[in-house]
Symmetry: C2
Subunit: 257 residues, 2 copies
Amino acid sequence: MEQITVIKIGGNVIDNEEVLDGFLARFAAIEGKKILVHGGGKLASRLQRELGQEVQMIDGRRVTDRQTLDVVTMVYAGLVNKQIVAKLQAAGCNAIGLSGTDGNIIRAHRRVAKPIDYGFVGDIDEVDATMLRSLLEAGLTPVFSAIMHDGAGTLLNCNADSVTQAVALGAARLAPTDLVFCFEKKGVLRDAEDESSVIERITPESYATLKAEGIVSGGMIPKIENALRAVEEGVRTVRIKHADDLLCEAGTTICNA
Amino acid sequence: MEQITVIKIGGNVIDNEEVLDGFLARFAAIEGKKILVHGGGKLASRLQRELGQEVQMIDGRRVTDRQTLDVVTMVYAGLVNKQIVAKLQAAGCNAIGLSGTDGNIIRAHRRVAKPIDYGFVGDIDEVDATMLRSLLEAGLTPVFSAIMHDGAGTLLNCNADSVTQAVALGAARLAPTDLVFCFEKKGVLRDAEDESSVIERITPESYATLKAEGIVSGGMIPKIENALRAVEEGVRTVRIKHADDLLCEAGTTICNA
């Protein structure tokens, strides 16, 4: 395979049908092999509230008891996943919706209940790159929800960014792989108030300076550090860009040098 | 391929976790290529009621407005499908959960709104036997929900028995195919009150007599007539049997002669 593009979309794209449709048209137009990973957290929270369940988040992660697991499985692996796949099919992209348990393609394990018991929340163990290759070679475009399994019959709610990163590392074993995180801003900004202040390129060296100077802070720190880890482990580039800019050279590129 | 077994389970198996687990252990033990199709209607009705939606059935078919479509997509393609796949994976069966839109494997069209407007309800057009072969040859066991699509971006709620029949006809183009409908009784009974009165074999000739004598009636008539159509169109045998009897020679076999 020549190359693979792995793209993550979150709530800012999924929750607005017009934005989602625009994004999927652009995604369908990307040439070459590609993989989509999606979230769906806001829809899950809405359904939880409609069912009278309490939505409990700790550090941005959903505490997932049995009822919550059923809701996220329904919303992520069912509603959001199949709607995206149907729309991609309509756009001429031969998508296949998958959770980690399908074809045992991604295995996870339940997170240890200390210091916080997140319930049925998992961390990724490994992606079956051989299965990924079979699907891509069959002309299919995998669309992943973040519902994984432990191999012993239990589904697990995983972080979609972590799933994306694991899928990209699996893809990188097959072909040069670029990972794109679709973001609500144009990229990593020098000045949070100024959308024109996008930092074009971040390398391990420049990141050290940016962090020391306090230019990147808060929620961007784990995002960039995970991206740097991905490029260190074999992903060619990680881009953080706005979903509208999917087809153009824009956003922040994180790479080794 | 030597042969393919296509099996349908409905609410009587799905709605009881113990029964489902027993069934899935037996399903995993079936040798050779196999495909599972599942319903999930009772769970969908329960979720509809929890969400304050009205459950509207006409002639046993669910009237499917936009809200109902979201519910059945969540329950069938999400919760039930992924739970079954995770349990099969735990039993050593490399299952992959699919709706018709995944890989565009089954295409349907929305049913004409006259005389009854069922909403987002579809009838099957065709099954992509080539895609089915790719999955089976990759060692995967497809597990289908009855959520299909029209190819233009709209999901459709289809009848799981009809999906099963279409999948079996697609499979029959690849290899000799046996279809099994798991039923709440031991098979087609001569005497509805007597579980030991199973009719072992029904052919087009014997069916004419059974129907004329009033031995089969009511809901069994469309079941048997659909089965006879399936064998006429290329399925080797159709069996109607109890889920507990999956691995033994039991139940009613419908065949050409």
